[in-house]
Amino acid sequence: MTATRVRKFDGGTWLADAPVGLWTLARWAGTAAVVLFFIFPMIFMLMVSFKTQPDIASGGLIPEEWFWQNYPDAWNSVAVGTYLRNSIVAATLGALVTLVIAVPATHAIVRYRVGGKFLPAFILATYVAPPIVALFPLFFLLRSIGLVNTLFGMALVYGVMNLPVAFWLLSSFVRRLPEELEDAARIDGAGYGSVLLRITVPLLMPGIISTGIICLILAYNEFLLASFLTRSESTQTLPVGLSLYQGDRQLRYGQMSVASLIGIVPVYLLAMFFQRWLIRGLTAGSTR
């Protein structure tokens, strides 16, 4: 903690004051190690995507020759484009379903104490059960209403799946809203719906965006439910498509890396652009 005062890394101070210097040095080394640990697997996969099959077996980091052919090959041999489209459609629709249900409900539960203490506890308790619990009952339910193996069915499943998460994230945002504005609008004669739409939702926008993105990513990344509820290329999502590589007699590592990278790009772009919202959303729970 002595190091807090030396916020700038200037050679003079840390040489003169040994303990501070050691701390600073350890911190830089630690940071470097952390960064390396977290990005190395990604870099290695990127490198593998540029290697030929014999080059992959050699195990080096840098490709011996840069082999671009994996990219068109992966795109043509498996339906990466279709999988990607399916994932984006199911995840986006799913996140919208989640928000449409969760925003008014969370507002009512937190602001008007609908359901008392029981309902919030119950909502969070449903999150504890592993998804395998819902797998078979959902399958039979979807089958009976003809939504197995449809993107619409997947979107509904994802929409419902993320409700507890959305409630948990949104409730901390709702709690921070000033009540006075809603009260003022109400005194001016605005009804429940117009208070919600004109006052609450605009004020809640940062929370809604954060929650929406997190739900979108959770749905985009989901595998277990998708692998069971989608059975054909026209509905399978990207994680399911990627898992199909595992069935090959000889794994096409290069193409598998390419397909994985293509799948990552949308989420990483989302993470970069909406970094602030994402972090605000993720951390909303721990700061209450």
Partner: protein, 318 residues
């Protein structure tokens, strides 16, 4: 801390009871509409959580396969059979060990990363973006990345260890009964540590500065301040984060599916994967249902001590 205290209080007051919607009749319309608005959420939870549970209870007492359900009742046979099966009970144990190990490891590492983030002056944004990425990566892709790193022929870890002359022969990490499980844990820690780091970092920002100033005046050292101020004050938030990670860890499926397929032998077969196989490969939905319910009970039992610890830690602070 100030924020932690004031916000719940405001909600505790709730709406002034008996307050009526201006310009309406005698009933508390706001509550009524509130219930109407909450209904879709409750409906969703019924479809995703309540109905599956009830359905599973019925299934678990029946003889069912994927094609035809409910082909007769078998009583508690599926339960007694499953408990008698070493493969099932060890999968439960393995799920518990997996959840506890990955939670402890990613919490320790996550706190370290959070402290680094807290201290980093330059490049904090870059650091934050970078560590956000593992969290955003689909678990299937995380598994693919680690499969590439760990494969015996051409995996980076093998060629690195052989270059360092530590190994003379490539080792199949994921094919070894002793090493496969720790490496699946490692991949999980890689994915989830950033989540814990970000949450912990956010919790760190709420700690009051003046206590540190006072401790500094008293001549407390850095480590001493961490153990006697930071950690105790962080404890409630940290335990809450750990509970979340624990619950998530019990859900692990994708990593096992790609990295090891549950093997070698049963070495990495966690419960969710075991149950999936009973249903998909043996088509025995009845047994799978009974096992799912027992698994859910185990998850609850393991989680309870942590939520209790959270309540104790929170009480001690206030």
């Amino acid at each position: 801390m100030a924020e932690l205290d004031t916000t719940p209080q405001r909600t505790r007051q709730g709406p002034p009871t008996g307050q009526r919607w201006p310009g309406t009749g005698g009933i508390d319309r706001r509550r009524l509409i509130g219930w109407a608005v909450v209904m879709p959420l409750i409906g969703g939870l019924i479809v995703f959580a309540v109905y599956p549970f009830i359905y599973l209870i019925f299934l678990s007492f029946s003889n069912s396969n994927l094609g035809t359900l409910f082909r007769g009742w078998v009583g508690v046979e599926h339960y007694t059979d499953s408990i008698g099966q070493a493969k099932f009970t060890t999968s439960l144990l393995r799920s518990i060990i997996f959840a506890l190990m990955t939670t402890v490891a990613s919490c320790i590492l996550g706190v370290c990363v959070a402290l680094l983030l807290d201290r980093a002056v330059k490049g904090r944004h870059i650091l934050r973006t970078l560590i956000l990425l593992p969290l955003m990566t689909p678990p299937i892709t995380v598994a693919v990345m680690w499969q590439l790193l760990l494969m015996p022929k051409g995996g980076w870890l093998n060629s690195f260890l052989m270059d360092m002359a530590l190994f003379s022969q490539p080792v199949s990490f994921l094919g070894s009964p002793t090493m496969a499980f720790p490496f699946v844990c490692l991949a999980d820690v890689w994915q989830w540590t950033p989540f814990i780091a970000l949450m912990t970092y956010a919790a760190l920002q709420t700690l009051p500065e003046d206590i540190y100033e006072a401790a500094k005046l008293d001549g407390a050292s850095g480590p001493a301040m961490f153990w006697s101020i930071t950690l105790p004050m962080l404890a409630p938030a940290l335990i809450a984060i750990a509970v979340l990670k624990l619950v998530i860890a019990f859900k692990v499926f994708d990593l096992v599916f790609v990295l090891t397929g549950g093997g070698p032998g049963q070495a990495t077969t966690v419960s969710s994967f075991y149950i999936y196989r009973v249903a998909i490969q043996q088509f025995d939905i009845g047994a799978a249902a009974a096992q799912t319910l027992m698994f859910a009970v185990v998850v609850g039992l393991v989680t309870i001590p942590f939520t209790t610890a959270h309540d104790i830690a929170e009480k001690r602070l206030t």
